[in-house]
């Protein structure tokens, strides 16, 4: 017969992967906050006679071509990635959220604004980032701005979808009929409903931003040296790929683990919000 004779498991606690993700993220945040305090040698200090050493107990991630300890650089490099990731997530959420709500409440703007947003989405993301950074130079704010421009349309779309759903609800129509100013309706009724979906999208944006920023700093287009970032560590390590595999693996692993942890938390958030809204949207 088609079905098997096994009893269904009772509901378990949170997944192992979610727990691990939180642990990883906590460790990374610790690195960001404590930074230089916990480094053994210092991120920019060359260590005599220890050029291009493979990983060991003395140097967890080995040393690079300037004889700097890679593990320490990775700790300090966490700062760049997290700041840019978080920054992009926040800015694009605010921009995208505002845009989405605006368009849903003032329907007249809908078509016009959505066409422009479509233009942004069609614009190749990396190119857009490159253009903006070429225009305004490198640096934390410029990169955050560039990446936010890339991501905010997607958040705007999601917010617009949710807001449209809410604004067609009878009570909002009632407020409009009574002549209350539209923005009040927007703020009080629409916004709370959008916070959940935006938060979920924001985590994905953060993960993507970290990855794209890694690419940009690999190209030398993000926060300029000597500030270490995982991406430019990869860029420097590339020249020694035949001799020093750890220069490629270590920073890449950091990026990968961070991005995965954020994605896992994003999925977890989405599951939670599905439960709250009672099932699939």
């Amino acid at each position: 017969m088609v079905s098997k004779k096994t009893s269904p498991r009772r509901s378990r606690g949170p997944d192992v992967s979610v727990v691990l993700a939180f642990v990883a993220l906590a460790a990374i945040l610790a690195a960001v906050v404590l930074g230089d305090v916990i480094t053994r040698y210092g991120a920019t200090t060359p260590i005599l006679g220890a050029r291009l050493q493979p990983p060991s107990l003395a140097h967890f991630f080995g040393t690079d071509n300037f004889a700097r300890d890679v593990f320490d650089r990775a700790i300090v490099g966490a700062r760049t990635s997290i700041i840019i990731g978080l920054g992009t997530a926040i800015v694009s959420s605010v921009l995208g959220g505002a845009c989405g709500i605006l368009v849903a409440v003032w329907r007249g703007l809908d078509n016009f604004v959505m066409r422009i947003l479509d233009g942004f989405i069609a614009f190749p993301p990396i190119i857009l980032a490159i253009l903006i950074i070429a225009t305004f130079g490198g640096g934390y704010w410029q990169v955050i701005f560039a990446l936010s421009v890339v991501f905010f349309p997607r958040i705007a779309r999601v917010t617009r979808g949710v807001s449209l759903g809410v604004t067609s609800a009878p009570f909002v129509e009632a407020v409009k009929v009574m002549g209350g100013p539209r923005w009040r309706a927007a703020v009080r009724h629409v916004m709370p409903n959008t916070i959940g979906p935006i938060a979920v999208q924001a985590t994905y944006v953060m993960a993507r931003a970290i990855v794209i920023d890694a690419g940009l700093s690999f190209l030398g287009l993000s926060v300029p040296p000597p500030t270490p970032s995982w991406g430019n560590m990869l860029g420097e390590g590339r020249l020694y790929i035949t001799q020093a595999w750890w220069l490629t693996i270590a920073p890449g692993l950091c990026i990968a683990v961070t991005a995965m942890a954020v994605n896992i938390i994003g999925d977890w958030l989405r599951d939670k919000s599905d439960v709250i809204t009672g099932g699939k949207r």
Partner: protein, 355 residues
């Protein structure tokens, strides 16, 4: 239709004795089948309870019951198509010479489509929306017999004409959503019988159709039975629908068969209070407002079956007698007209149960 005229129509075509079916010459033999699932606390809940049934070759059997009686589960289990989480907790099902409950997936797949076919309630929904009718029909034919595409298509067109479709060519080139419900059901029947199965199961096949179309589809199924010597199992909640079609009727309630016998016997002289109630609650010509009989209460859900006879809480025949709420009445497998009721002999006339 009054019971009498229904039965007259049925009696017209069923020549043989509607007696008990011996296991030996049975096409389908269900023996003590128990189906169960688990609830959210991990406890086992029975859905079908020690059910036995037999069907002869070429015979038409109707299975009547309300939702929750388990009738769909019964026919699905004959097909080996149980939903997720439902498993066989006991008993056996024999179709021809294959034991279904212990059969492997490959064996079951071999049986389906070639020895037995099934049509469902949602006629349009049971066809793949992305493939044309002709292609689905050809696929079914060629899954059992090697033949070139063109030949299979010819055969398919003939089949479509056989099931009463006036423009087989147009239908073959259509997609399911372009057909009407009745047309789609004819197509479904065509696909189900294309490899000449010996059993056709119709699971609420006419429920979703307009009344006039219902009659046409039932006529079609009758023809399938007589022209192709195919046994039929017709599941429905509507007694009138089956009356004109089947030789025997089994009435189900809360996971068990409560009455089984020839259509004439069951409809004209029911021996179970539930059957009597079902018959009585059909709209009658000439009844005035407020006169319609209805049976108070609901069919108990699996897991909440009362002890003893499951119908006793709603039964007027029991009149609160001890026996009814303590001992589960059994269905006599050898009787030609069986009833699972302790006081079946008190039901001389159909209305006896409803006093």
């Amino acid at each position: 239709m009054s019971p009498a005229s229904c039965v007259a129509a049925a009696a017209g075509h069923s020549g043989g004795q509607p007696g008990p079916t011996r296991q030996a010459d049975a096409l389908v033999a269900v023996d003590g089948l128990t189906l169960a699932t688990w609830n959210e606390h991990g406890e086992e809940i029975r859905l079908l309870d020690d059910l036995s049934l037999a069907l002869r070759r070429g015979e038409a059997l109707g299975i009547i019951g309300e939702s929750g009686s388990g009738k769909s589960l019964l026919v699905r289990s004959i097909f080996g198509l149980l939903p997720k989480g439902v498993h066989v907790a006991g008993g056996a099902i024999q179709v021809d010479d294959t034991e279904i409950t212990s059969a492997g997936a490959a064996q079951l797949q071999a049986l389906r489509g070639s020895r037995m076919g099934m049509v469902f309630q949602d006629s349009i929904g049971s066809l793949d929306p992305l493939f044309k009718i002709g292609s689905q029909l050809v696929e079914a034919i060629r899954s059992r017999r090697r033949m070139p595409q063109r030949q299979a298509l010819q055969e398919g067109l003939k089949l479509l004409a056989d099931v009463g479709i006036t423009d087989p060519n147009r239908v073959a080139h259509s997609y399911p959503h372009e057909l009407s419900g009745g047309m789609a059901q004819r197509v479904a029947i065509a696909i189900a019988i294309c490899n000449s199965p010996s059993l056709l199961i119709a699971d609420e096949a006419t429920t979703a159709l307009d009344v006039t179309i219902q009659a046409q589809v039932i006529e079609l199924i009758k023809r399938v039975q007589s022209e192709r010597h195919c046994a039929i199992i017709f599941v429905s909640h509507n007694l009138a629908a089956v009356a004109g079609l089947v030789d025997r009727v089994a009435v189900m309630y809360a996971g068990r068969i409560v009455e089984i016998g020839s259509t004439r016997d069951v409809l004209l002289a029911p021996r179970h209070p539930y059957t009597a109630a079902l018959l009585k609650s059909r709209p009658q010509l000439g009844e005035r407002n407020g006169q319609r009989f209805y049976l108070p209460g609901n069919v108990p859900a699996p897991g909440q079956w009362p002890s003893g006879c499951r119908f006793s809480p709603r039964c007027t025949l029991s009149r609160g007698r001890e026996l009814c709420s303590s001992v589960q009445p059994a269905l006599d497998p050898l009787a030609s007209h069986g009833s699972a009721c302790h006081f079946r002999d008190e039901m001389v006339r159909p209305d006896d149960a409803l006093r």
